[in-house]
């Protein structure tokens, strides 16, 4: 640069507070005007071709032949590939083997893609893809989790966690209660479906635009399938139209297929998966079948716990090892399990391979915990809230988890007490009893459930992050980091963090698309860790630059660098003040580096899978919710009337975004536990395969009364500005809806019977729960049975 850019005439106006403010989403105005670009909206590169996949109609069997002649002869078709045409790896599994880019020798699930078609338009590609013929020696698919378990048909070895001596403790206890709960899976239903755009560049490089939570993994897998080095592949990810875990591993396949087609043909290639295919071809939240035996004293205090946790993984491991682990880590939810014997199984079935979904197995473990509590409460006759409070962690000898981690800074008892007060729980309990006595058809239910969710990837090496921060000579700052924006407001929070560090307004901070050529070797944006780890990495990068500027300025002013302050757009040292852009220009002219990387690794964490002991989590995010429902005993239909939430995000970086995550997570969790029902037929075909048959919550499902508050308490651990992660934990707040439905059904027996109501609790299942109550247990007239 020969001549510096003009400095701003007026020092910019600064908000007094960036971190902790309700700053709007960085793309909000682009969202509402339609200017925010998703991959399918990018201006099409010259010569763009479109890809589609052909799918197997059999669910399982040996592939006898693949005939693509009719596809090749279709209008507009330029190329067709099968696994024979993959230059490098055919297996694109993320951790363990078993996820072929296209079906190779075997068909592993119904509708598995086996060839990919390239054509001049999307429609021609899709139409041509229908014409492929795959001959399969068809076998009966294994779809049942119990049968897979009995046959020891597992995708990964079984893992156990033990604490104390379950057998003796259980034998010594007054009561033994057993139960089981079968938990449905969940379709992600991100509004933007899976998509990738691959553009061949010169020097044998390739650029991939992908809607992925894990650009670095896409980069690695693309390199592997192309048999080229990682440095030839650049992945760009500006924003996703929703991810929820569904684009952690499952986005890679489309990028890999597009990349192979792009390189073979030296043309840009876009592959957009239509909704129905997206639903049939990509993994979902794991269904689980869990059972328990819990030993209690006469007061319902847990003395010993045995849990058997079975995740239905589908045809391959994908991330199932860690997902079932997380279910095991969370089968205590917030309760002290005492002497415990926990075993987790990863059952293989011939369906699509299930994958990450907000909560990552944690929700399915926690549903088991709440099922135990409900069973204990109905047995003791006490209100489930009392049993919950009684069994919370805390007190002498009651603060160790089943995996040996000491619970510190446990704020749930206080948080729950505050929510009990603010939601008027006990008065409403009385009102509801009254209502139920007076209404023949409608019965209300009420429930308070807590959430304690462990924050960190349980795969330790993933708990690292990188950032790249540039300060330009006008004082503006460009930030890049390893996290991806999927709507959660990560870039907004990062912007706030960088602004806070430099004492600038957020207008000065531009967070750019996640790119593997800017920050390498990144972790997926998952495990709620996006802000925690990337925020710290960005902060560290900022600190490096600030340190250089401070030292430079201190030298100029003959002062001490540690006394230099960056605030309100001005850098000061004692009486000396200089606008930030001026200092930056001065530093540039004096050859001070204005760019830095930043790195962060989460401290304190470790877990030994051999012993099942450790401290896998840096800290816990906590919350609780109270839900009130009304059930129609004639039809099983119900309505969620009121929800009160108190949730702990530590010192909030952005309350508006955090509340948005809490509300959105709650409603998504409510959908999982209520109307979202995945159904497969006996041939392994997904029946609920589009938005017409798979029903996520609509606007009318949002409760009329929906009070959400943040629990004001900074994180005791040294997280970014003592905030707490917020992505996943609120999803599990929705357990109170499920428990309230059970409560309403249980009211028919004067709360003596714990009804069997496996989630998702559709109206049909609620009615079934009523009908299955023992005849003699009813304490009132029930019309619907």
């Amino acid at each position: 640069m020969r001549k510096l850019i003009d400095k701003p005439q007026q020092p910019p106006v600064f908000q007094s507070k960036t971190v902790g403010s309700n700053k709007q989403h960085e793309s909000a105005e682009r969202h509402v005007t339609g200017k925010a670009r998703y991959i399918d909206d990018l201006p099409e590169p010259a010569g763009l071709l479109h890809a589609a996949v052909s799918m197997s109609m059999a669910a399982k069997g040996k592939i006898l032949s693949k005939d693509t002649t009719a596809i090749r002869n279709s209008e507009g078709v330029c190329d067709v590939i099968t696994t024979d045409d993959i230059p490098g790896h055919v297996d694109i599994a993320p951790v363990f083997d078993g996820d072929p880019i296209l079906a190779d020798k075997q068909v592993l699930f119904h509708r598995q893609p086996w060839c990919a078609v390239l054509a001049t338009s999307v429609n021609l590609a899709r139409k041509a893809a229908l014409k492929g013929t795959l001959e399969v020696e068809s076998e009966t698919p294994e779809l049942d989790i119990h049968s897979a378990h009995l046959k020891q048909n597992f995708v990964r070895p079984t893992h156990a966690m033990q604490q104390g001596d379950y057998e003796s403790a259980a034998n010594a206890a007054e009561h033994l209660i057993s139960g089981e709960v079968s938990i449905g899976g969940q379709e992600h239903m991100y509004l933007e479906g899976q998509i990738a755009l691959a553009i061949p560049e010169e020097e044998d490089r390739i650029t991939i635009y992908t809607s992925s939570q894990h650009p670095s993994e896409v980069q690695k897998l693309v390199a592997e399938v192309l048999d080229i080095k990682l440095h030839k592949v650049t992945v760009d990810m500006r924003r996703m139209g929703g991810g929820f875990g569904g684009k952690e591993t499952q986005a890679a396949q489309w990028a890999c297929i597009a990349a192979v087609l792009a390189m073979r043909n030296q043309r840009p290639v876009k592959l957009r998966v239509p909704r129905m295919q997206d639903m049939m071809l990509t993994g979902k939240r794991h269904p689980f079948d869990n059972s328990f035996t819990v030993a209690t004293d006469d007061n319902g205090l847990i003395k010993a716990t045995q849990a058997r946790i079975n995740g239905l993984c589908g045809h391959s491991a994908d991330l199932s090892e860690a997902i079932v682990d997380r279910a095991m880590f969370h089968c205590d939810n917030a309760y002290y399990l005492a002497d415990a014997d926990i075993v987790g199984y990863r059952c293989r079935t011939d369906t699509v391979s299930h994958t990450a979904f907000r909560g990552f197995g944690g929700p399915q473990g926690m549903v088991l915990a709440e099922a135990m509590i409900e069973a204990i409460a109905r047995k003791t006759g006490e209100d489930p809230l009392t049993i919950r409070q009684r069994n919370l962690y805390g007190g002498e000898g009651r603060n160790t988890t089943q995996y040996g981690m000491t619970i510190e800074h446990f704020n749930l008892p206080d948080l729950i007490e505050k929510l009990v007060q603010s939601s008027d729980y006990w008065q409403r309990r009385e009102d509801i009893k009254q209502f139920n006595q007076n209404n023949l058809v409608l019965k209300k239910g009420l429930s308070l459930t807590p959430v304690k969710f462990g924050i960190s990837f349980t795969a330790k090496h993933l708990n690292q992050a990188g950032a790249l921060v540039h300060v330009y000579t006008d004082g503006s700052v460009q930030v890049n980091h390893g996290g991806t924006e999927m709507g959660q407001g990560l870039h907004t929070k990062i912007q706030q963090i960088a602004a806070n560090e430099f004492g600038l307004d957020t207008d000065f901070i531009e967070v750019t698309a996640t790119r593997t050529d800017k920050v390498p070797n990144t972790s997926p944006t998952a495990a709620s860790s996006g802000t925690d780890i990337n925020g710290k990495a960005v902060q560290n990068a900022c600190l490096v630059i600030k340190q250089r500027l401070a030292e430079f300025w201190a030298e100029q002013q003959s002062g001490a660098s540690e006394e230099v302050q960056f605030r309100d757009g001005v850098v000061s040292l004692g009486e000396a003040k200089i606008p930030f852009p001026d200092l930056v220009q001065l530093a540039y002219m004096n050859r001070v580096s204005l760019s830095s990387t930043g790195f962060y690794k989460t401290p304190k964490i470790h877990y030994d899978r051999n012993t099942g002991k450790g401290r896998p989590f840096f800290y816990f995010a906590n919350g609780a919710s109270v839900s009130e429902v009304t059930v129609d005993t004639l039809t099983g239909e119900y309505k969620v009337d009121r929800v009160d939430i108190l949730h702990d995000v530590g010192a909030s970086l952005n309350p508006a975004i955090d509340i948005g995550q809490i509300e959105g997570g709650f409603i998504q969790g409510m959908g999982w536990l209520t109307t979202e029902e995945l159904l497969w037929d006996e041939q392994g075909r997904l029946l609920s395969n589009n938005a017409a048959t798979y029903k996520i919550p609509a606007i009318g499902d949002t409760p009329a009364i929906f009070n959400v508050d943040l629990y004001p308490h900074p994180n005791e651990e040294d997280s970014i500005y003592h905030s707490k992660a917020v992505g996943e934990p609120p999803l599990m707040l929705a357990m109170s809806v499920w428990c309230a439905l059970k409560d309403a059904v249980s009211s028919l027996t004067d709360y003596k019977v714990d009804p069997k109501l496996d989630p998702p609790a559709t109206a049909e299942k609620v009615l079934k729960a009523i009908q299955q109550l023992p005849e003699e247990a009813f304490t009132c007239e029930v019309l619907g049975r």
Binding site: Y190, M486, E663, I699
Partner: protein
């Protein structure tokens, strides 16, 4: 040729692909990528756009949200298509956009343009209502109704509801109000078109009849909310389309002394007020029939002629003893709706014949009788879901004795069905517990429904019995105790 306005621009297209949807045209032909594809089947609303058209008196505009992914380009003829790119006035966001920003109504943002558009049509509708009744308060129910066709997977809807309340409570004039005179003139000046190669826009019975003879394989298209799925989901090609929208007989609503005549191509949104005037009991069912964008496009005639066993209106028409007029251009015949459905998706329509109108008898006030009509829908989700079971009961009582009962059921057989056994058994009986129980026994074995993705056969059977019991309770509900979890309106 077809002619329409794209935002403020006049567009004439002389050669169009019949199978081209509005969404495809916007994104691929016009590079207007603000409108998104979420599902391609009218179930998520990411593709929602607004159509403005002249009102009945030709002096104002009506703004209706539709799903562009299941609307053929040909449906735009004579209208103004408004997309999300056009809402802002220069750099100033439209009030609905600004409210979405201020209330944090977007997270991933992909569904957002689709929410902004129906919110804009609510804004415009309220603006025009405000002139007639300025104090009408905007409530949650109206917002749910306006946004019933939009799914958001991120927010949980609360901030979106707040944004709609904020922006649409008291709308002020926007740039569309300022331009309305010009827009009205532009729309009036659009030519009368007859279509293109594969698309026909007949404007009379005779022309329609001729086309059906000339193109025996052609498909009739009204709202296209079902037909378009053959293109977007099954990748079929529809070479010849005949639109029903300009045939006068198909587009009228006529109130006669004894009956309400509804042209087969009249949309739900347009017939709603008239129908609910006579049968307010049907409000819940109509509010839950698809979503607002679907009701803005879909037609009663389409729902009937489609002959799906899970359509929401055939059970109603059965229980109201409606008649259908079938036409072939030369002859018209009128049949009871029950005679229309022959088998799964098979009707009594002959070659060259079409459904012309639906005739609904008007309720007859008589001093000596009282009646009760209820239409029940069971589905997994309340908004925008297809019935697992639909049950309609229409009873007339004279001094506590059943004078007549008419029924209609959906989702329990291959065709929309009635239960004659039940109707006959209770007629002449006292409307008491015994009669109700007798009815339960009959309904328990009246049908053999199937298991499918929406419900099990057993649940469907149970619902028939329990909904009958609910009907009895509601018809006798002296205490007005709450009996339903959903209370529409």
């Amino acid at each position: 040729m077809i002619s329409f306005m794209l935002n403020d621009e006049l567009v004439h297209i002389s050669k169009i692909d019949n199978n081209c949807t509005v969404l495809e045209w916007l994104r691929e032909n016009q590079s207007l990528c603000g409108t998104k594809e979420g599902c391609g089947s009218g179930d998520c609303g990411a593709c929602t756009v607004v159509l403005a058209e002249l009102n009945d008196s030709q002096n104002g505009l009506e703004y209706r949200a539709i799903n562009s992914c299941i609307t053929f380009l040909s449906a735009l003829d004579g209208k103004q298509l408004i997309t999300v790119e056009h809402l802002a006035d220069g750099n100033a966001l439209h009030p609905v956009q600004q409210a979405m920003v201020d209330k944090h109504g977007s997270q991933c943002g992909f569904c957002t343009p689709g929410f902004v558009m129906p919110m804009f049509s609510l804004y415009k509708t309220r603006e025009s209502q405000e002139q007639s009744s300025p104090t009408a308060e905007l409530n949650r129910h109206q917002i749910d109704n306006a946004l019933s066709g939009n799914l958001c997977r991120c927010t949980g809807y609360r901030p979106i509801i707040d944004a709609a309340l904020d922006a649409c409570e008291a709308p002020s004039a926007d740039k569309f109000s300022a331009n309305s005179t010009a827009t009205i003139e532009n729309l009036k000046a659009l030519p009368q078109n007859s279509g293109t190669d594969g698309l026909h826009l007949p404007d009379s019975r005779a022309a329609l009849a001729d086309l059906l003879v000339k193109y025996p394989q052609a498909r009739l298209v009204a709202g296209s909310t079902d037909l378009a799925l053959e293109v977007t989901q099954q990748y079929k090609q529809l070479p010849q389309l005949i639109s029903t929208r300009y045939v006068p007989e198909l587009n009228r609503i006529e109130e006669k002394e004894q009956e309400l005549v509804i042209g087969a191509a009249v949309t739900y949104s347009k017939l709603q007020d008239k129908l609910l005037h006579y049968y307010p009991e049907l409000e819940e069912l109509l509010a839950r029939l698809g979503s607002l964008p679907i009701r803005n496009q879909g037609t009663l005639g389409g729902n009937v002629a489609n002959a799906s066993p899970i359509g929401d209106t055939p059970p109603v028409l059965l229980a109201l003893n409606a008649q259908l007029t079938l036409d072939n251009g030369e002859q018209q015949r009128t049949i009871p709706v029950a005679e229309f459905f022959l088998d799964y998706k098979k009707t009594t329509l002959k070659k060259g014949e079409w459904l012309s109108d639906i005739r609904i008898p008007l309720p007859q006030e008589k001093a000596t009788t009282e009646g009760c009509l209820r239409a029940y829908k069971i589905s997994k989700r309340f908004e925008d879901d297809i019935s697992a079971v639909c049950a309609v009961f229409n009873i007339t009582l004279e001094q506590g004795v059943v004078k007549s009962l008419a029924t209609g059921f959906g989702g329990v057989a291959a065709v929309p069905a009635v239960c004659s056994a039940l109707e006959q058994a209770v007629t002449g009986k006292a409307w008491n517990l015994d009669t109700m129980k007798q009815g339960k026994a009959i309904l328990a074995d009246a049908f053999t429904p199937i298991d499918d993705v929406r419900a099990s056969a057993q649940y469907r059977k149970t619902m028939l019995v329990n909904l009958w019991q609910r009907f009895w309770l509601e018809s006798n509900n002296q205490t007005q105790a709450e009996l339903r979890v959903i209370q529409h309106a």
